[in-house]
């Protein structure tokens, strides 16, 4: 692996080899790797440079009627940059993020349900699922948002027309996000 390193002491330092692959570093920290062939061919950003996470709810929670309730996602599937904690996503890289969520209810009553994205503690964007007599209601959310990489954080809230429990599970109640492009 050839290395192109922009140092803080010696300018740009180039260390070459014959692999045909190139790593670009800043102060010794790998930013990306360029690989010409093989399964990883292309440009791979370092995990810290491209935050992505996915988590799901493993323990159901009770939603009260017409009450915006923070949805809890207790189990992480992956979290490349350790930006997800306490069911809150706080990306540390400034940029534009694709955020997705799904919330399911175990419902015995016809109702409406709604998933809301909260940014910095305030209602920001929402989805809406109409009334349904189905036994399982699901609301989804998807959106593209900006995060400043320092203080901005995101949470998912749910609200229902009649109090009931969420349907916990990896496949139905989850929250994920990834960096689409940097600022």
């Amino acid at each position: 692996m050839s290395i192109l390193n922009a140092t803080t002491t010696s300018g740009v330092v180039l260390t070459g080899d014959t692999t045909g692959n190139l790593t670009i570093q800043s102060a010794g920290n790998t930013v990306c790797t360029i690989t010409a062939t093989g399964a990883n061919a292309g440009i791979q950003l370092a995990s810290w440079a491209a935050p992505a996470f996915s988590a799901y709810q493993s323990t159901l929670q009770t939603l009260s009627t017409s009450t915006n309730t923070k949805i809890l996602f207790q189990t992480k599937e992956f979290d490349t940059n350790n930006n997800f904690a306490s069911s809150t996503f706080t990306p540390t890289v400034a940029g534009y993020y694709q955020i997705n969520a799904s919330g399911a209810l175990v419902s015995s009553v016809a109702t409406w349900s709604n998933l809301k994205l909260y940014k910095n503690g305030s209602y920001f964007k929402q989805s809406f699922a109409p009334s349904s007599s189905a036994q399982i209601d699901v609301a989804g959310f998807t959106g593209l948002v900006y995060a400043n990489g320092t203080t901005d954080y995101f949470e998912i809230y749910g609200v229902v027309g009649a109090g009931q429990n969420t349907n916990a599970g990896q496949t139905v109640t989850w929250f994920s996000a990834s960096l689409v492009r940097s600022a």
Binding site: Q61, S64, T65, S66, T67, N68, T69, K70, I71, L72, S87, Y123, Y157, G161, G163
Partner: protein
Amino acid sequence: MLYDKIMALYPSLTTQDFLTVITLQNDSDGRGDYIAKWEHPTLAKPTEEQLA
């Protein structure tokens, strides 16, 4: 439940009110339901005593 207490005080409130001028919230932090926004044009925000 906070919703039930509010409805007992103001039975005329509708679902639409709770989607627009009133926001009840629970941050799942153990502190329970609370009124995050009350902008109803005619009904006063309930006091702590009324909700106790």
